[in-house]
């Protein structure tokens, strides 16, 4: 590596840094927010949670029941933060007009000559020569520094109470077969398009190429009609997991076949010819030679199709019920956007949960993902 410190290099680095920050900030903000306390989240920007911030709070001391008498002097003692860790009092006040009247550790003298003192950790002591009469404690206005604090509460709430846990399972139940089924049937299809001779092969190939770009909107209405008719005919639910699997298989078929065909074309012809001479059937050749050689291609296509299905909203909306036992993550998230639009702790956490699997795949298998994308584009 060369570190050339010239002007254009510095400029390039700064420009790239700018892009990187611009691109990462939205996701980063979501991630941070999902771990914040929901009350904090509603009143302050997520960027304030990363550093120690100054907050103004109102607390109340304990009432007369908590007083103790020591040598004729009455005390009320306690902690303003209920022993919440990390906060530090900077200053405090006894009226709302002057909330910073006293520094921490300074004694405030009230009208009735009683004395209040507040310490840095939130401990306070209220001292009076006569007995405390009021049931309610006194309000104290404090300015404190609050360190970053994070919680997993939002995740518990969203997964168990809002039903995102079930939606997560549903999405897996949709995505795995909807990825594996096209992979299975398209690999046989791509094999026959590459290595078998039959009438209409070129036409079939051309219709695959054409289907690559056909928008799935063109299929929705007729397929929905077919599903409804079939459902009525056999008296079963028209919206079901197998229905979605097949729909995803249909919409992913062209690209899966095309990518596999492109890959299989490049396999050495001699190897397959040799197998043929040895008397292997096409099925043997496919299982013993082509599948092992195609593993890297399978991996790329698996990831592409899996991410596509996982992130899909439209197909899931049209072909699945919105019932909790069928709803998928993206549809659930959209539902929350409507019903809990202001509850950012739920939305940010829900969104992040829906992103966990794609991000895991992305960071662990990025190589295959990129390879699939590049193969699908540069050649196609």
């Amino acid at each position: 590596m060369k570190f050339k410190l010239n002007l254009s290099s510095i400029f390039s680095q700064l420009l790239l840094l700018f892009f990187v920050i611009l691109w990462i900030t939205p996701t980063f903000g979501l991630l941070i927010s999902s771990f914040r306390d929901k009350d904090q989240l509603a009143i302050s920007g997520w960027w304030t949670s990363l550093v120690t911030t100054e907050v103004n709070e109102i607390h109340r001391t304990k009432g007369n029941k908590a007083q103790i008498e020591e040598e004729g002097i009455f005390f009320i003692r306690g902690n303003l933060f209920d022993n919440e860790e990390g906060k530090k009092v900077l200053s405090y006040g006894i009226t709302s007009k002057d909330i910073n009247a006293y520094k921490v550790g300074e004694v405030a003298i009230l009208k009735d000559k009683s004395e209040i003192i507040v310490f840095e950790n939130g401990d306070y002591q209220w001292k009076s020569k006569s007995e405390f009469k009021k049931k309610k404690g006194r309000r104290l206005f404090i300015t404190a520094t609050s360190p970053p604090s994070f919680t997993l509460d939002n995740y518990k709430e969203v997964i168990f109470k809002e039903g995102l846990g079930q939606a997560f399972l549903n999405t897996i139940a949709v995505a795995l077969p909807a990825t594996l089924i096209p992979l299975i049937i398209c690999s046989f299809f791509a094999y026959s398009l590459t290595w078998m001779n039959f009438f209409g092969r070129d036409l079939l190939l051309a219709s695959i190429i054409a289907s690559l770009v056909v928008p799935l909107q063109m299929s929705l209405i007729p397929i929905l009609t077919i599903y409804n008719d079939l459902g009525a005919l056999f008296n079963v639910e028209a919206k079901s997991f197998p229905g979605v699997w097949m729909a995803h298989t249909g919409f992913g078929l062209a690209s899966t076949t095309f990518l596999l065909w492109n890959f299989m074309k490049s396999l050495p012809n001699e190897m397959l010819e040799a197998a043929k001479v040895d008397g292997a059937t096409h099925y043997d050749t496919f299982v013993r030679i082509v599948i092992p050689l195609s593993i890297p291609a399978f991996a790329s296509i698996f990831i592409l199709q899996f991410l596509w299905v996982w992130n899909d909203l439209l197909v899931g909306l049209v072909f699945l019920d919105k019932h909790p036992s069928e709803i998928i993550l993206t549809a659930k998230l959209k539902e929350l956007l409507g019903s809990r639009g202001e509850n950012w702790e739920i939305l940010t956490t829900g969104a992040f949960i829906s992103m966990t699997v794609p991000l895991f795949i992305f960071f662990s298998l990025q190589r295959f993902f990129i390879r699939g994308l590049v193969a699908g584009s540069v050649k196609g």
């Binding site: 960027w47 039959f198 054409a210 909107q217 209405i221 919409f251 059937t281 956007l337 590049v374 540069v378």
Partner: protein, 329 residues
């Protein structure tokens, strides 16, 4: 459904296809052992076994629906009575449809252009810088996120609180810190489309970036070195060598993003549902598929309008495919 019944449904679904291929080929082998006289017949039966499932799916989910949708666009809302051009005439007079066409055109002009542009610029930047790979990963990451997830991320950025309140949306916080009034970004007609497009650009730049990065590696180093020795500036090299070399790649990326943008649905549906004049064709179509029990005629017209947009690309792809086939022979 419980966890275990989910798992078993999944396994049964996948096994079904494995067993189909295994069993049918096994039976064929068995039959051929006894009557091994016709290799040609065996081969054609096997071809049918290999092709049948994929072909049936292709036919049922793509080929047939394409023609059926075109047919339905000339029928009434239940698909029963022929109504001629009525659905098309309705569309031409519908303000939402016109708004969708304009918005889709806006998306088509802006999103592919900016995504490709940013992708190209960033690919060139990351190529030369030692931490370029990390930068690439970060900018590519939104590609893994769903449009709805991205919608939540950006809705949070665009969040609006009244003047004087603490802004928790990043964009408004910046605007306020610069001393300006906070805005409810997604409701500002016309401009709100740009804020929605920003999401798509944010996602698709990553795609352009990785494809350009792969293509950039194909540029012969000698050419670049020669240009540098001749004293060409980096800008000149970019403009006169790199851009012409990547011409084909630029075109490919452009078409991929164009097709995607024509179908844009999730972002609009999740963020505004077409309100404040952000309607697009795909969202309008989804609306008509279910509004008032569903109108298959109008829905089909809208689907067909999206299809019209991809037809030039479809023809071009077929033409290129034919050229390639010819070259191979």
């Amino acid at each position: 459904m419980s966890f275990f019944s989910l798992i078993s449904t999944v396994i049964v679904g996948v096994l079904f296809f494995i067993i189909y291929f295994g069993l049918s080929n096994f039976i064929l082998d068995l039959v051929c052992k006894f009557k091994s006289n016709s290799v040609a017949l065996e081969n054609s039966v096997r071809a049918i076994i290999f092709i049948a499932p994929a072909f049936l799916v292709l036919f049922m989910f793509i080929l047939y629906p394409v023609f059926e949708t075109v047919r339905l666009s000339f029928f009434d809302k239940f698909g029963r009575e022929f109504v001629g051009w009525n659905n098309y005439l309705w569309a031409l007079n519908d303000p939402n449809f016109r708004r969708s066409i304009l918005n889709n055109l806006g998306w088509l002009l802006i999103v592919p252009t900016l995504s490709t542009f940013f992708g190209l610029v960033i690919a060139n930047l990351t190529d030369k810088i030692w931490w370029g790979t990390i930068a690439k990963s970060i900018i590519f990451m939104p590609m893994a996120i769903s449009f709805v997830g991205a919608g939540v991320i950006w809705k949070f950025i665009y969040d609006y609180r009244g003047t004087g309140d603490h802004q928790i949306g990043l964009l408004n916080a910046i605007v306020v810190s610069l001393g300006m009034e906070p805005q409810a970004w997604l409701t500002i007609s016309i401009w709100n489309n740009l804020f929605l497009m920003a999401i798509m650009i944010w996602i698709q730049t990553g795609l352009a970036l990785v494809i350009f990065s792969a293509a950039l590696r194909g540029i012969p180093n000698e050419t670049l070195e020669a240009a540098r020795i001749d004293g060409a500036s980096e800008f000149r090299i970019f403009w006169s060598i790199i851009i012409p070399f990547l011409e084909r790649t630029i075109l490919v990326i452009w078409t991929i993003i164009t097709i995607l943008v024509l179908k844009v649905f999730d972002i609009i549906y999740a963020m505004t549902n077409g309100e404040w004049q952000t309607e697009v064709l795909a969202n309008l179509m989804y609306d008509w598929m279910f509004r008032g029990g569903g109108d298959s005629g109008r829905g089909s017209v809208l689907a067909f309008c999206i299809m019209i947009g991809v037809i030039p690309i479809l023809v071009w792809n077929l033409y290129r495919h034919r050229q390639e086939q010819k070259n191979e022979i």
